[in-house]
Amino acid sequence: MCLAIPVRIVSIDGNEAETEIAGVSRRVSIAFTPEAKVGDYVLLHTGYAIGVIDEAEAEETLKLLEEIASLSEVH
């Protein structure tokens, strides 16, 4: 029930948006994420976008993981 997956907003139509993930399209409600823009990635849970993915934070996390991995290689 915590299942939420990242989908990309392709177009917005009022309270709803057309989204896409790897070739699969889905219409979702953006009632909880009115700030979402076309091109944003949102977390989709049972037909609703529950949050907008922070791309900068995502990058930071990956950078951190890469650093950790490279440190462990030294050993």
């Binding site: 299942l3 997956i5 993930i21 790897a22 070739g23 699969v24 399209s25 889905r26 037909g47």
Partner: protein, 278 residues
């Protein structure tokens, strides 16, 4: 003719004959069937394989195919999976009153095309009509007979330790294509069912290799179920490299959306086989 199936079409009288002559025969025409005797007569000698399957898929039309194509391919493939060359099929249709004739024609056209591709003839058939509500639009049952060449011995029980498992293509396509059409799931994609006859592929494989032990086309229950079947029938264990299993990106995405695992999702046009390592 009227534009939808009536109960009278199933009663055996004039309308029934008209239905067979106008909506079935033109698509299936072959000498044995055209005789319209109570049974079809043919000669065959050697080891014969025989199989039957019922098709109740919903929706009956889906991206990449329909219930007719499925009914031909499914039975042709069951024969091919035992190394048999499919010869003849029978086709029995149970139609719900009110079913549109134009849709019936579409399905018969599919059946014709699939049978031509698989190089089989449908030599026996039957139609029945039931009251509205007593069948979900159309149910088809096909049975098939095929012939196995001498020396060919393929069975789910033949897998041996050391064999390798090979998959002919990506998995999960059919199941996801079907689900994308179901109401309430609301997602759209360009993915098509992989429904296809495998008999020619199998005969090419058998020409090239005598070391094929098992063959199966993972249908309901997906790849996981098929591998479990091999394991159980052959009393062996199988080690699978998850990363080696080919899955289309769209199928992965749809599975994420639905909370499914692609290895359990149905296919209709793949085969997996185990053969001796060289």
């Amino acid at each position: 003719m009227d534009d939808s199936i009536l109960l009278a079409h199933g009663s055996g009288g004039k309308l029934s004959h008209e239905l067979v002559e106008k909506k079935f025969l033109p698509f299936l025409a072959n000498p044995a069937l055209n005789k319209l005797d109570d049974s079809a007569i043919f000669e065959a000698s050697g080891r014969l394989a025989f199989t039957t399957d019922g098709y109740v898929v919903n929706p009956i039309f889906f991206p990449g195919g329909d219930i007719g194509k499925l009914a031909v391919c499914g039975t042709v493939n069951d024969l091919a999976m035992n190394g048999a060359k499919p010869l003849y099929l029978s086709l029995s249709a149970i139609i719900e009153e009110g079913f549109l004739l134009i849709e019936l024609e579409r399905i018969m056209q599919s059946i014709k095309k699939a049978a031509e591709e698989a190089e089989v003839s449908i030599i026996a058939g039957d139609t029945k009509v039931v009251n509205r509500g007593q069948a979900d639009k159309l149910f088809i049952t096909t049975s098939g007979v095929g012939i196995i060449s001498p020396g060919v011995d393929i069975s789910g029980a033949n897998a041996r330790s050391g064999d390798k498992v090979v998959l002919s293509g990506t998995i999960g396509d059919h199941g996801i294509a079907i689900m994308s059409q179901r109401e309430g799931l609301r997602f759209s994609m360009t993915l098509e069912s992989d429904c296809a006859p495998l008999n020619k592929l199998v005969s090419q494989m058998l020409e090239v290799s005598s070391r094929i032990h098992c063959l199966r086309d993972p249908t309901r229950g997906g790849l996981a179920t098929t591998l479990n079947e091999f394991a159980r029938q052959s009393k062996v264990g199988i080690v699978v490299e998850e990363a080696e299993i080919p899955v289309k990106e769209e199928v992965k995405a749809a599975c994420e959306l639905l909370g499914l695992d692609p290895i359990y999702v149905a296919n209709e046009g793949q085969d997996s086989y185990s053969n001796e390592k060289k």
